[in-house]
């Protein structure tokens, strides 16, 4: 436990020094608040676009607050997942490649302490980024559109956080199998993407799939209550994430040479 905290502290400090604690939250805040702002100014943007015949009256229904928040969540879905994978792809691989891992593993450090510290370190930054971004977007939505119930926002935040946790578990696992940062990100993205595609094609058989978390998170905003199956999805995501981390630990221990 003590070693885990030492390693975690090192992860967090490292992310401060290389700027990850700044750029990831800011990037997410920009992605987040761009959504309510562009939606708000959409009529003007279209008006200035130019190639609309004069005199055309553009009628765009003003979206509701929850709709704006839900569309923000879908914005995170693509660029967000990509950013998360890219930000975490090298965390194990770099230390293995350059040899810094040697000086860690000559000390009484276990595989599980090492893997857990990497995972927690990255998840903490990601969830902080998401919290700041989503919170700021919530504030903007209240300002420009209408009040959204904060309970709904928090519930959708928690559900979506599980999705982020799942992404990091996949990336960390890939990092123990593959010896190149680009390979790790390619495999992680294909895995997550592939799972999404399969879940969309065979909806009936994949109600458990973690990719559905995104739908569940938007649904809670729109409907105001949890969709059916949400408990199944939540449980399988937690279970799968733990399983992935466990495999990562075994795989890391199986590495012949640190």
């Amino acid at each position: 436990m003590k070693n885990y905290l030492t390693l975690l502290q090192k992860e967090l400090t490292e992310s401060f020094r290389n700027g990850k604690w700044i750029w990831l939250p800011i990037a997410f805040m920009i992605i987040g608040i761009t959504q309510p702002i562009t939606t708000y100014y959409m009529p003007q943007i279209l008006e200035n676009a130019g190639n609309i015949p004069e005199g055309t009256v553009i009628e765009i229904p003003t979206p509701s607050g929850v709709e704006v928040l839900a569309s923000t969540l879908s914005q995170y879905g693509m660029i967000g997942s990509l950013l998360f994978v890219l930000s975490a792809m090298g965390v194990i691989d770099n230390e293995r490649q350059n040899g810094a891992l040697t000086l860690v593993m000559v000390r009484p450090v276990t595989a599980i302490q090492y893997i857990a510290s990497k995972w927690t370190g990255q998840v903490l930054i990601a969830l902080t980024s998401f919290l700041l971004s989503y919170g700021l977007t919530f504030y903007y939505t209240n300002l420009l559109f209408e009040q959204v119930k904060w309970e709904l926002v928090i519930t959708s935040f928690l559900i979506y956080s599980l999705w982020i946790i799942f992404i990091f578990s996949v990336t960390i696992l890939a990092g123990t199998f593959i010896k190149s940062a680009s390979g790790i990100s390619a495999v992680s993205i294909s895995f997550v993407g592939g799972l999404s595609v399969i879940s969309n094609l065979f909806t009936k058989f994949t109600t458990w799939s973690p990719t559905n978390l995104r739908t569940h998170a938007s649904a809670i905003l729109m409907e105001g209550k949890l969709m059916e199956n949400s408990i199944t999805v939540i449980m399988t995501t937690i279970g799968l994430s733990l399983l992935l981390l466990l495999i990562a630990t075994f795989q890391f221990r199986r590495l012949e040479q640190y």
């Binding site: 090192k10 350059n98 040697t102 009484p108």
Partner: protein, 295 residues
Amino acid sequence: MLVNINQLTKSYKQHQAVKNISFQIQKGECVALLGPNGAGKTTTLQMLAGLLTPTSGIIQLTDEAPKDFRKRIGFLPQHPTFFSWMTAKEFLQFAGKLSHIPKSKLANKITETLEFVSLTHVQNKRIGGFSGGMKQRLGLAQALLHEPDLLILDEPVSALDPNGRRDVLEILDMLKEKMTILFSTHVLHDAEQVCDSVIILKDGEIKWNGSLESLKSSHTTSAIQIKTLESLENVFDDLAEVDYKDANTVTVSVNTTAFDTNLLLQRLIEKNRTLVHFERLQDSLEDAYMKVMNQ
């Protein structure tokens, strides 16, 4: 006995890097693992440090059953890599905590160790800007910090310039008073400078294990070179094996130390030869090493 290695083997797909080696290290000893590149030195040391899993064989530290003995070992890899964003002091704090040095002792221990490897003046500088010699000394510092029973150093001086080399060798000289040291090198001279015992490794096998002194004496075939004004033909042939350089110069091989060299002189007087040169030729350590290698 501190370390007991029994039939240690490491095989990869194509070849065996270490073949069934066994040796022991006594407490307080300083042992050099000597051999050419590719002899299996690094592989052996990494297995001892717990970084590499042996294919078979047993590594024991004192009398304990094989378990996690990493906290009792200090290891310096051939090219130590640190987290370049940390300062020297921060890295030692990180390493010390991972080795479970009590908080109350850690700060003092770090100051002391940095002093010992003369890095106090750069303790708050980022490791990223360190020279090779400084990194090597910081590597030594992290290996020493937790006062391990056994210090394992992989080629600690081979990548250094003459100054850095001298610094590290001096540090090792001081350390061997306090600790058991096992270090690898491909330079015989370095082994000779620091240690009294060597384990010579070639192609994954132990070729020699013992003190440098005994290596020298057991492989030495001393000979005596004699030169006279007159011809030396048939003067010594009945006493020993004689190698003629020319008619007036011979090398007489005397394989045993028991051989009485006065016999030769006596014979010269008997045969009325005028002595010009009489020299005892002895194999250097280098020659002995080469002989072991070529066995």
